[in-house]
Symmetry: C2
């Protein structure tokens, strides 16, 4: 899922998202709640209408951003009081408010409201946080059970927490499955822990999750990390990297990342990635994209954003093809071996 934090995948239009064959995007509950605010989105007919995107939207619960962006947090069993990061206004989000907000947004996949413990976290604190989260998640389901019009109900995904502890991850997964969600996410990953612990968080949770429900690893990751997560049973990702690093002039390729600001690309007539079918690679040279980035022209980050989103979405399409063909093990080995994290030049 390309990430549309503030009601737009950064620098990319809905038409371009369709052309990239994006099948679903992510919207951020916290950001949209703070700006433009629910009144605007309600009046404009929900997030799909507001941003002109007719495909599915998954919205996070706001929990992660409340814990990473907001100021002066006060956590109570009821929810979280905080000051928003824009103007410091006092706000409150709890499980019920998070569900209300996501209902107003018109989300197709609603995420449970959870607490995301920081890293590292002692077992006792992680266990206490998990109890709070499980209670909140129960209340999210209860809130939807009280709503009328079950037909229009979105899909509801629970979030496995438990920090780096196998017993807590397992307990979290088992209790969520007992509640019965439409899908299951692994949260509390990519919060500063080493990659090994990130993989373990998935490994601890996945065996307890049903095979017939989608599994979603939140907020990840590099291309090889995604492939490795898929090997561990993950189906769904959201990731800001394709558009975020594009704004710094960095492009993803099968051989690793390229920093297009580098002088070695000054006269390079080749595309960002040889053989790539994206709009940027079909029409423009590395030399041109480098010039745009150096000259701080918006078209530069636009072209790299399109390429990077194409790279990620096409990687997922290739993985699906390999899985269908029964060749995923080979694909995984070759892809991960061929990808070097910091590739400076061709």
């Amino acid at each position: 899922m390309p990430v549309g934090t503030q009601g737009t995948v950064k620098a990319v239009s809905p038409r371009e998202l369709h052309e990239l064959r994006a099948e679903i995007i992510l919207g951020n509950t916290y950001h949209l709640f703070v700006r433009p605010g629910l009144e605007v989105i309600r009046k404009l007919g929900g997030l799909h209408n507001f941003m002109g995107w007719d495909g599915p939207i998954l919205t996070d619960s706001g929990g992660f951003q409340v814990f990473s962006l907001a100021k002066l947090r006060k956590i109570t069993p009821e929810g979280v009081h905080f000051q928003n990061h824009l103007d410091g206004s006092p706000c409150f989000i709890g499980p019920e408010t998070s569900m209300e907000i996501q209902q107003v947004l018109g989300s197709d996949i609603v995420m449970a409201f959870d607490e995301c413990p920081s890293h590292p976290c002692r077992h006792e604190a992680a266990a206490k946080s998990l109890e709070l989260t499980l209670g909140w998640e129960r209340r999210c389901l209860d809130w939807w059970a009280r709503q009328n019009g079950e037909a229009a109900r979105p899909l509801l995904f629970g979030i496995v927490q438990g920090s780096s502890y196998p017993d807590l991850r397992a307990k979290s997964a088992r209790e969520l499955v007992a509640m019965g969600w439409d899908g299951y996410a692994v949260g509390g990953v990519s919060v500063g822990e080493p990659e090994r612990e990130m993989m373990q968080a998935v490994e601890f949770a996945v065996p307890h999750l049903p095979e017939d429900r989608p599994r979603y690893a939140m907020g990840l990751g590099t291309p090889p990390q995604l492939v490795e997560m898929i090997a561990r049973g993950i189906d769904l990702f959201d990731c800001v990297l394709p558009t975020r690093v594009a704004r710094n002039g960095t492009a993803f390729t099968a051989g690793g990342t390229l920093n297009l600001k580098n002088a070695c690309f000054t006269l390079d007539a080749g595309p960002i990635e040889e053989g790539c079918a994206c709009y940027a690679c079909a029409h423009f040279s590395r030399a041109y994209v480098r010039h745009l980035v150096k000259a701080e022209e918006i078209l530069g980050l636009r072209l790299i954003s399109l390429h990077n989103l194409h790279f990620y979405l096409n990687l997922m399409a290739r993985v699906r093809g390999a899985l269908a063909a029964g060749t995923f093990a080979d694909f995984r080995r070759e892809f991960v071996r061929g990808y070097r994290p910091h590739k400076a030049a061709t």
Copy 2:
């Protein structure tokens, strides 16, 4: 002509330019000479190939930017020594170098190298500057006469100077016509003079310019100014306003400009301009565009840039239609009357 200063119409892709029915764009010799530099553009096969634009390109001569952007200028009969505005490197552009640069760029319409006197300018200084410019323009034609391969020669446009003085404007125009150019521009306008003087510069020059050659008013202007210039015999314009003001959240409409940051648009479900056929107006509300601009999302300035370019290009198409139908006088009166420069709301 949409303006592509640094090898891109700001924030807009070549595909979007085609969709906007842009028939020609402008490139800036000075900017491209300074960055990425001629070696890059030569190696990448000229400006068309470099920027992926297969339509015509008019390039200015670099004269205006040398006088408005560069530092430590020293003007000699040979040309202008200066330090470029990026890193202060010493550079030189004279009439012959300007022609060489524009030849490397692969321009379809090459502008003469001229001196653009500042405003206000005494008659004596303006007369002296004009003599220098006329000598330089003569040398531009001479340079092209010395080139082989006449078949591939671009169109060459002379530039009328002469500040605000009718005798100098007339002299400039008459001497240029005697030299025989493919088209004629009125330069030294929109340099800080009152609108009345800007119109007069055109009025002083046009009667001396042949009817069967295009006339181009450089670096203009607001929508009513363009219509008024057309009434005075101008055929061609370049203007940065559509993309420049878009980056500040300002949109052009037939009723005047709208600042989409204004709070009155917070809940406005209508398009930027009612009845407009552009991509932005077909798909997005003022409320959404306002949100994007307030949140500093690039898609906001992209959408306004598309709308503003559509507005300008469509205005020219409407003028051509009115001229063909013999109704231009009515069109002019109604358009200028309906356009209010600072329209805050609907």
